[in-house]
């Protein structure tokens, strides 16, 4: 069908543009995955295929790399990604209570997206802001010295 081909070609052009500065070699697989994810919010199948082609790397290897590193997502993510730090300092300062409170508030399982598409909630192994433990991060912003109530309030700021 012509429309689908048209769509595909458009996507291909987009990927080509995203990756234009990268050499077409295997070393580019990880940077390419990072760029595509940055642009699309996750790694769609056609993105993986394009990267495999572009870097001359078998698709299976690209998939293996995408699933090995915790930074990559194969499913669409919420508009905002909430990461609760589970580093040592945060752990002993009560990070779990924050995490449970947010899971409760959002009513989702770890890694899931809220039905309204607003949030994804995950944990992260140390954000390196240990002096402010317990810490959480919404997108690129770090929130320190959180209590369960404060953490819930932070999410409300992102609601509107």
């Amino acid at each position: 069908m012509p429309e689908i081909n048209e769509e595909l070609r458009k996507m291909q052009n987009t990927y080509e543009k995203i990756l234009e500065d990268l050499p077409e070699t295997r070393e580019s697989v990880i940077p390419a995955l990072q760029l595509v994810q940055k642009s699309r919010g996750y790694l769609p199948g056609d993105g993986l295929e394009f990267i495999a082609d572009y870097t001359d790397t078998p698709l299976a290897n690209v998939y293996s790399i995408a699933t090995f590193y915790s930074q990559f997502y194969l499913e669409p993510q919420g508009e905002h990604t909430v990461k609760v730090c589970q580093g040592t300092a945060c752990h002993i300062k009560g990070a779990n209570e924050i995490y449970e409170a947010l899971l409760g508030k959002l009513g989702i399982a770890p890694g899931e997206v809220t039905p309204d598409g607003k949030f994804t909630l995950t944990t992260v192994r140390c954000l390196g802001a240990c002096s402010l433990a317990p810490v959480m991060m919404v997108d690129d912003k770090v929130y320190g010295n959180q209590t369960p109530d404060e953490a819930r309030d932070v999410l409300d700021e992102y609601r509107d």
């Binding site: 590193y69 930074q71 002993i92 140390c126 802001a129 240990c130």
Partner: protein, 565 residues
């Protein structure tokens, strides 16, 4: 106090006539709002008209000075008192500064030359400290590698050069042969700051002695240990030091290409180091024929993608080559066959941060600091249940007791000290009785811990040691790459036992089984991750076995586990 400040101010100001306000832009202070403080300060300073600027110093009778600069700085380390604002040349440190405090800094300190006392640090006994270096947190420290943090603008190469930056590179390239460079580092006794403590000069010598067309040098900034952020702060706060260090390393081993591998979770470090690399190229400290010496060196940043195991050198190499980061058996060591099969040196960024001052001041100077087998200083991220958490740098040979009670100000509550976790998932928990051991690579290993990368987490009696061991095993299970069986499956079985213990479902011989498994995993895993993974379990078993036994009986002495009962 303010009397003395004013005197000092007049003295120093008469030399260069600039008041510098440095706002900490480390990750900790940024998340507490330091950039908003910076913006407001900038606005207020811009609004000052010429007359007021002169008025600022008229108290001291010095009319020549009329310039105020506002800059950002790297991490001061005193993170839980942030956002931090330093006023130079007086050396005043203002703590917990919020946007509304800016007015007081401008009105009191800048216009009237007075201390804004409300913003000064006060210790628990109420003593007010105006100057940064007088605060007890800094007194017990020896800040060499972190010396520039908080005092220079990490985004300005000029700022780094004013501290003598790139002099060491010039000296190495124009006055020394590569052999002399690694010889100096070898004589200095510098040992790897990434954890294992291998002599850096030896590593360089091995790579230097390999004959190859292309060699590589890599700076490891894949700081993955939970509870550690030294490498992040150094790279964010003084990126040129790392660049100077790696370029000297490149010269010493005759490599012409270097990489700085930065962890995915550190976007600010990536940004700062990229800017620094561009500036270094522009100034001729990278690229072709550096200092007219004929030495060429190219440097680029590689970003990690979220895998703890990539801190292991062979896994890191796989990651740069564009593969999943799984370790390879050693030998061959990277010095023989590393990146793309070529001889490669991999050093931790803190290790490289030590290099410029060794070249500048000589190995004798360096080896006079610290202890005999562990010269120099070590940076630590001290966190947990202590009064002052943050980033510190202390001479080797200091005791853990001095670190916890003098530098970090002791426990943050009335509760007693229980243990200090050192070395992250590869290290161990030390009890009170070992707090007087002098800090060193070998001395800590003897008691079942390790210096590691530098995470120090202090725990009071409310922490359950079995739960802490479970925490680390959980981490290891998540991060095991799955390549070798002992690590992949062994740590899983260990975790299951710890889960049973903490949930009240333990079997009578579980503790013995856990201990036995720990030894198997330690001895038979492929890489450092698995070989050191049992350490948190073994060290807690060694010093807190009674807690494990209590869990067998369904009791958690700290009251952490069995929360369903």
């Amino acid at each position: 106090m303010s009397e003395e400040l004013n005197t000092k101010k007049t003295q120093v100001l008469s030399e260069d006539g600039v008041v510098k306000i440095m706002v900490c832009a480390g990750t900790g202070c940024q998340s507490s709002g330091s950039l908003e403080v910076f913006d407001r300060l900038q606005e207020e300073i811009d609004d000052l008209d010429e007359n007021i600027k002169v008025g600022l110093l008229s108290d001291n009778g010095n009319e020549d000075i009329n310039e105020v600069e506002v800059e950002i700085s790297g991490c001061h380390g005193f993170c839980d008192e942030g956002p931090l604002v330093r006023v130079d040349p007086m050396g005043i440190l203002y703590t917990n500064v919020v946007v509304d405090d800016v007015e007081s800094i401008v009105e009191d300190t800048l216009k009237r030359g007075k201390l804004a006392e409300d913003l000064c640090y006060r210790s628990a006994d109420g003593t007010l400290y105006a100057k940064e270096e007088e605060i007890p947190f800094y007194k017990g420290q020896r800040r060499l590698v972190l010396g520039n943090l908080g005092e220079i603008d990490p985004e300005s190469i000029e700022s780094y050069k004013e501290t003598g930056g790139y002099n060491a590179l010039e000296k190495a390239l124009t006055d020394m042969t590569p052999k002399e460079v690694w010889g100096e580092v070898l004589n200095a006794g510098l040992r790897g700051r990434g954890g294992a403590g291998f002599p850096t000069g030896k590593k360089w010598q091995f790579t230097y002695e390999e004959d190859a067309d292309q060699k590589y040098v890599i700076a490891n900034c894949d700081e993955g240990d939970p509870g550690a952020f030294m490498d992040r702060s150094l790279t964010e706060g003084d990126p040129h030091r790392v660049i100077e260090g790696i370029t000297i390393a490149g010269y010493a081993i005759e490599a012409t290409k270097g990489f700085i591998y930065v962890r995915a979770e550190y976007p600010l470090a990536v940004k700062r180091v990229n800017k620094a690399i561009d500036d270094a190229y522009e100034n001729g400290y990278l690229g072709e024929d550096i200092f007219g010496s004929g030495f060429d060196f190219d440097l680029e940043v590689k970003r990690g993608a979220g895998a703890f195991v990539c801190g292991e050198e062979t896994a890191l190499i796989s990651s740069i080559e564009g593969r999943a980061g799984r370790p390879q058996p050693r030998p061959p060591y990277p010095a023989q066959s590393g990146l793309y099969g070529q001889p490669t040196t991999i050093n931790n960024v803190e290790t490289l941060g030590n290099v410029p001052m060794i070249i500048r001041n000589g190995s004798d100077w360096y080896s006079s600091i610290g202890s005999e087998n562990s010269p120099g200083t070590k940076t630590f991220a001290i966190t947990g249940d202590v009064a002052n958490t943050g980033l510190i740098e202390v001479p080797m040979g200091i005791t853990m007791r001095e670190i916890i009670y003098d530098v970090a100000g002791g426990m943050d509550s009335d509760r007693d000290f229980k243990a200090v976790q050192i070395g992250g998932p590869s290290g161990g928990c030390l009890p009170e009785k070992h707090l007087d051991i002098p800090l060193g690579f070998d001395s800590l290993q003897e008691v079942g811990a390790m210096v590691g990368s530098g995470g120090l987490v202090v725990m009071d009696e409310n922490s359950c040691m079995v739960n802490v061991a479970k925490f680390f095993l959980n981490f290891i299970q998540d991060e095991s790459c799955g390549k070798c069986t002992p690590c992949r499956d062994g740590t899983k079985r260990m975790l299951e036992i710890l889960e049973r213990l903490t949930e009240g479902e333990a079997k009578p011989n579980d503790i013995d089984r856990l201990e036995e498994l720990s030894h198997y995993v330690k001895e038979s895993s492929l890489c450092g991750l698995g070989q050191t993974a049992p350490n948190p379990v073994l060290s807690t078993l060694r010093y807190f076995r009674d807690e494990y036994e209590a869990h067998l009986e369904g009791r958690c002495p700290a009251g952490v586990c069995f929360d369903h009962e």
